[in-house]
Symmetry: C2
Subunit: 542 residues, 2 copies
């Protein structure tokens, strides 16, 4: 492949075509310097959007019935095409996001790993949930019909790229991978914070579509510096579900558009979390300083720009907590400042830190050196300095503003008078992606008391760990009650993410030759199928 | 048990208590005569509602962690308590609904059958979706954590009784059974069309709660002649999901309330469908008259008051369709008039029939005898006379009003010029619960062309059958795209209905003794669990 294959043209990709959008122009921005990056990107128009949706709709019936193996190969091909871009992808992405090379190389591996995971999910086929309730013609008083069920794809899906995962939750990220696996064509609205990265990855998918001989409408990529195209995409009647990772305000706006449609559709928005970390007394006493260092490392990872960033710490006040606060403050003072993803995210972070600093009942533990530090480290203009605050549980319970997410490396320690008050604070918080508990064996009884509350608040509960680092596996839940996500019944990471883009269909009394392969008598796909409710594996005796 | 155990007091049931509501008074109505039935029911107040929700909330953490066996026994006990009411239940229900004895005895068996189905789902335990991704401490570059997933109950659930299934989709119906199975306390808003039936069944559940030693808040039953309590129930922050069967207007109103909450919650509303029946040419030629008689029987079953009632017939015009129309008209002329569920439903039905009769491009095939018939059969004032209409595909495509559901025994035949036009008509309709196709082997190729459209329009597709008669099994989907339901990803009948009231939670690195039983190393519940994505049965070699 020639070098020019990987050049960036500033174009939207509509099916197999590339086009210069004529609806406004914008450029990527160097996150470290704020300088514009070439080339200019043309914003997509309403008619570009309509064409992408029409192609997706036209591709749907064919694409959703491609074989499991064909879609698995397609996902793997996307991964290979992304890898084949090589360092050009990493370098452009570093410039656009300010994220370091090692992180982005890791994120690229995560992205191809997700594609491979869904290829494995497809080859196994359990996600189809094939079920057969055979006819019982002799049943009294009424004969029983033959009833067969399978999951099918919901239809074309809109995916919004995320600013904080330019690869793993953007153009070929988890939402796209799981929707394509389910059999849904995807129309991506690129995040304007990393347009060059988006185009490079979009072209990789476009090549994979061609290489696999799939209908071109399986994938399109639209650019827009504003919000019009994203809004119109969710409103388009051909779109049947939405995947989104971003702010609470934007996610809620998309939910409203989806609910106001003539046909409302599901929105899977992963939005806002402060990911409480509970330090139980014996753990705090036994290894408070170690936990403090682990906490500081998690808080500053990726400049704190993770959905699972530990923004809240809960513990019972006293000597051991004071020691933890000192150790955490010291560890954060040693942390290097890091460039944030965009100037706007940096400005919002600074405003959030400023707001907490000025709140009367909030004590600053590690934010005061912000200005000195920046000079000392010769940091860039968009670097974030970690910030750590403390407040009493009473103050926290009284002021809803203290529960708002500050996106970046800022956290608030809530000093509780006892475990009952700590439980009350937990009860007061909104839905979360993660809640962590640090505990020793002597804390188990106390933990048993709060665990039901933790399960109700979060999609993932951790013992002696921190939520950053979301394993891509079969047992992961990256989700949780509102406002962590718009739909607590789902996960956006891991094998179950495919379920978001499926719906069940039941087939009654169909001739075998008209049934989908998954439900035919001969079981040509050798799927595990549930017969009268009991799962039967082809290779298992029962 | 004494006879008085089964008396009707006109009281709401709040946990273990019974109370005379003081928020207005209403009575049940004899569906045949329109006369009021004793006793009077007092409407629940906002504070009654608050108390029911508080009890449900208080019961939730304990109830959701009862053993699978304990909940299975509870469901079976509810069924036994319903059966123990005996004929008093059937007689009251006949009076309130106008439905005949045989239908209601069948519906009672269906209701206890549903409870038994979910008991079986619980004992099997696959719905828990237990998953384990074991730790890999040696993995490079990062060790892998231990990650375990299970489904837990979402929280207290609001259920709305349905007018057309006073037993199987009301107080102890499919929504209640599946929510209780999932581990969710239930607060039922009784349908005011059958309050006595509701109280009898509610007291049966109340006795089962006590007999099983469960917390009283597991179940409450509220009466209200208006809509205030229902609206407030969906808005209550302690309620985490809603089950509803009824009209499109009411379902959409509940969706809006749920979406406007501070924490939006899922609404499972089963609303509106016209259930198209496609007659392919060879089937029409080979057995048009037989299909006509089957169609007429399905259309008039239960006075046409089923969600799956065949309200639309699509076929290519010609001699064979004309013969079908004549045969269907004759069969409907012979059908006895039947009492409708309520005077209001009867009035709405008559208005819908009247509207179609007056539509210029609609031909009446079997509605003209309405008045004569009523005299001849000495029918009651709220009897429905079947009605059959016909229109061209052009007229149907041009007039959206022809696609609206007329709840009752009315149907519209759409005469298409050819199969392409028939396909266009199918494409134009909204989401459906069912679509049926009547076909012969010579029709298979034509069917293959339209089948993808059918799958996209409906939750259940049938060959050579009609949608009435919804089998309660593992492979049933009683659902479908909006407006058939509010959530096409789910079913309200069959084993998968439990999924509506579950959400996944992931446990990372927990000590074994703090893990829920479903995820402990020793697998004390002997669940099938997915290990690294592969399902392992305890009794299967792999």
């Amino acid at each position: 492949m020639s070098e020019s294959t990987f050049s960036i043209a500033g174009q939207s990709l509509i099916g197999a075509a590339s086009m210069n959008g004529e609806n406004g122009v914008f450029k990527g921005v160097n996150a470290r310097t704020g300088e514009a990056l070439e080339p200019a990107f043309g914003g997509a128009s309403a008619s570009d959007l309509a064409r992408a949706c029409a192609l997706a709709e036209a591709a749907f019936d064919l694409y959703r019935e491609t074989s499991l193996e064909a879609r698995a190969v397609f996902l793997e091909t996307i991964g290979q095409q992304i890898e084949s871009i090589g360092d050009a992808l990493i370098e452009r992405c570093m410039a656009e996001t300010g994220l370091p090379r090692a992180r982005l190389e890791g994120e690229r591996a995560r992205t191809t790993g997700q594609l491979k995971l869904f290829a494995a999910v497809l080859r196994q086929g359990d996600y189809v949930d094939a079920r057969i309730d055979p006819a019982q013609p002799e049943r009294k008083p009424m004969p029983r019909v033959d009833l067969r069920l399978r999951n099918i794809a919901v239809g074309p899906v809109a995916v919004f790229g995320a600013s904080n995962f330019p690869l793993a939750f953007s153009v070929a990220g988890g939402d796209t991978a799981s929707a394509l696996a389910a059999g849904c064509p995807v129309v991506v609205k690129a995040h304007s914070a990393h347009p060059g990265t988006s185009e490079l990855v979009g072209r990789a998918i476009q090549r994979a579509v061609a290489q696999c001989g799939l209908p071109e409408g399986v994938f399109s990529l639209l650019f827009d510096s504003g919000i019009d195209i994203g809004r119109a995409l969710v409103a388009d009647p051909r779109i049947k579900a939405v995947g989104f990772t971003g702010s609470r305000a934007a996610g809620v706006a998309l939910m409203k558009i989806a609910n106001a449609r003539k046909e409302p559709i599901p929105v899977y928005a992963e939005m806002s979390a402060i990911n409480p970390v509970v330090l139980l007394p014996h753990a705090l006493a036994a290894r408070g300083e170690l936990i403090a260092r682990q906490f500081a490392a998690a808080l500053t990872l990726g400049a704190g720009q993770f959905c699972t960033n530990p923004g809240l710490v809960l513990a019972v006040e006293g000597e051991t907590l004071r020691a933890f606060e000192l150790a955490a403050g010291a560890a954060l003072a040693d942390a290097a400042a890091q460039t944030m993803l965009t100037p706007r995210i940096h400005a919002n972070y600074c405003a959030g830190v400023e707001r907490l600093s000025r709140t009367a009942q909030v004590e600053s533990l590690a934010a005061s050196e912000q200005d000195n530090k920046q000079d000392k480290m010769q940091g860039g203009p968009f670097d974030a300095q970690p910030a750590l605050f403390a407040a009493s549980a009473q103050a926290f319970l009284a002021d809803e503003a203290l529960r708002a997410e500050v996106f970046g490396p800022a956290s608030l320690i809530v000093r509780c008078s006892d475990l009952n008050e700590l439980h009350a604070v937990l009860d007061s918080i909104e839905g979360q992606l993660t809640v962590s508990v640090h505990l020793e064996p002597a804390d188990h009884e106390a933990c048993r008391t709060i665990l039901p509350t933790l399960e109700r608040k979060a999609g993932r509960v951790l013992a002696n760990g921190l939520g950053t680092g979301v394993e891509v596996g079969y047992a992961m839940v990256h989700g949780g009650p509102f406002p962590a996500t718009s739909d607590a019944r789902t996960t956006s990471v891991g094998g179950r993410a495919i379920e978001r883009f499926l719906r069940p269909v039941s087939y009654q009394d169909w001739p075998d030759d008209l049934l989908p392969a998954a439900l035919r008598g001969a079981n040509p796909q050798r799927l595990a199928r549930r017969v009268n409710g009991v799962l039967r594996r082809e290779d298992c005796g029962h």
